[in-house]
Structure formats: structure tokens, C-alpha cells
Amino acid sequence: MEFSIYRFNPETDTLPKMQRFTLPDDQVEPGMMLLDALLLLKEQDDSLGFRRSCQHGVCGSDGMNINGMNGLACITPLADLEAPVTLRPFPGMPVIRDLIVDMGNFWDQYRKAEPWLVNDSPEPEVERKQSPEDRDQLDGLYECILCGCCSAACPSYWWNPDKFLGPAALLQAARFIQDSRDEATDHRLAQLDDAWKLYRCHTIMNCTQVCPKGLNPSRAIGDIRRTMLKKSL
């Protein structure tokens, strides 16, 4: 199986290039994931750089652009990919080496969403309880693994990565805005009410299309807007 992989080493290269790799057919096994193939290709050329950790779609380390679509290599079946499989780093993010990108800005924007529970009420003896209905509000939000596939697929984030929070951070903002235990909803909504942080989203919906966990950041952003509207009326 043929692969075309983006290669760039800032210490030796002035320009990036695409490098052809071939995985012999006898090494391709049924049910193999793209990450398995990458690990075998790394045995051919150990200078090939990519991130991976849990290999089960939980840690979100191995996000990359696979045949033009962002996804996680560890849960992308090789059989579903058209050869030559073209692998590039996340678009719009600075390349550290090969398929490894600098996600510093992504984490900065995540931090701006203040992704922690704010509750200054006296701590109960056991735990802060939620009704099952309130807990259900967090479904589709809490499962995000912060792989960055969505933000790296978002044109608004490419254009203004320093000002627009991006779909991943906004999904987290929605997660805490929806949380019945959180007491900072007004503060969270006020923080987002400017021209940049939330409202650069033009509902392009690339985020929803690429999310490897099947989440819907676009709908979460819409929910934030609706909550903001209800609060301001």
C-alpha cells in the first residue's frame, strides 16, 4: 500500500516535501488501523515523526490530516482509505516536525474557556449532586478528548487563531455553561460576548464533520448563542 507523507525537519530542511512510502502487502492485515501502518513505516525510516499514545482513540495524540480530512490515525481503518494515503500535519498549526504540530495556541484558547467548575457555595458533605436530567445536558460535550481535529479543520480558526477560541474550546465552554452545578454562567457568557471569541464562528461545520468522537461542536456553539440570547432578553 502506497503512502505519501509530509516531511519537514526544521533543523535540516528549508522547505517541506512529500515522501513516498510503501507498506508491503504481506504486512497489511485485516482490521489494521492507520496508526499500525505508520508504526510499520517508522521501522522503515525511524526519522518519521508523529505523536501517538493510547492507540485507542482516547488520548487524542495522533490527530493528523488523512487524505484531506482531519482524524485520528489510531481509529481510522486502513481499509477505508484510498491509496496513496496522503498524510499531512493539522492545517493551520505550526509544524514542529513531520506530522507533529505545535498545539500551544490550541491550549491557550482552551484555557480561555475556563474549563473548570466554578462553585463558591459551601461544599456539601458528600458531593455536588445533579438531577439525571441536568446530567443529561452534558452528554455530547464532556466526551471531547481535545485531539484538535475540529479546531484544525475550522477556517475561522485558521484566520484568527489568536482571537477566535475555536470549536474545541467552545465545546468546553458549552460544557460548563450547561453544567447545573456551575455558578459562573453569566461570567462565561459575558466573556464570550464580543466580536471574536465566539462570533467568528460562521457555522461552516467542518468541526462536526471531522470530530472522531462524533460530537457536534457546531450545535454546542449554537446552544451557547441561544443561552446568551435567553439570558439577555
Partner: protein
């Protein structure tokens, strides 16, 4: 809620779109069913208080809608602050002039 930023702008863009959309549909329907035959008929239609007021509101809301759209495009694409501010100022000035011109025409027609 800030009027022309964040949620205010987003909401205003949608509200203005509804009015502009309905106005355009109504105008197209009118022109398809009973188009004015000559200049005098045109003047009579435009000079009617309801049409004049509706048209004036249409102009104002259309320009507000256009401003928010233009601002969105410039915020998205134009990075250098000085250039962005210049383009925003020129855009706003052009839209205001267009609005004043359209309102002048409406008032002149109404007084004719």
C-alpha cells in the same frame, strides 16, 4: 448585549435579514403581478406613506445588515489593524452615503 458587536450584531443581522427578505419577496410579487406602467405610476407607489416608510426601513435595515456582513469579512480576512480600520471607515462611510442618498430620493419622491 453590545449593539454592534458579538451577540448584538449576530442578532441584528438575523432580524434585518427577515425584514429585508420579506420586503424583497413582497416587492417582487408586486412587480410581477401589477408593475407600475410609467414614471407617474412609480412616483405614486413610492409616495404612498406605507410604501415610503416601508422602503425607508428597508434601506436602513439593509445597510445595517450589509455593515455587519462587511465587518465580518474584514475581521476575518484583514489582519493589519491600520488597514482594517481604514477599510471599515471607508465601508461605513460608503454605506452611510448610500443610505442618505436613498432616503433623499424617498423624501424627494414623497414631496413631489
Amino acid at each position: 448585549m453590545r449593539l454592534l458587536s458579538g451577540q448584538g450584531a449576530w442578532l441584528l443581522q438575523r432580524i434585518t435579514a427577515v425584514y429585508v427578505g420579506l420586503f424583497v419577496i413582497a416587492a417582487l410579487g408586486y412587480f410581477l403581478i401589477a408593475p407600475p406602467t410609467d414614471h407617474a405610476a412609480w412616483v405614486m407607489v413610492i409616495a404612498h406613506p406605507v410604501v415610503a416608510l416601508g422602503s425607508a426601513l428597508f434601506v436602513v435595515l439593509l445597510l445595517l445588515h450589509a455593515w455587519i456582513g462587511l465587518r465580518d469579512v474584514l475581521l476575518d480576512y484583514v489582519k493589519p489593524l491600520a488597514l482594517r480600520l481604514t477599510m471599515l471607515t471607508v465601508g461605513a462611510g460608503a454605506l452611510i452615503l448610500l443610505g442618505l442618498w436613498a432616503l433623499y430620493l424617498l423624501i424627494r419622491t414623497g414631496l413631489a
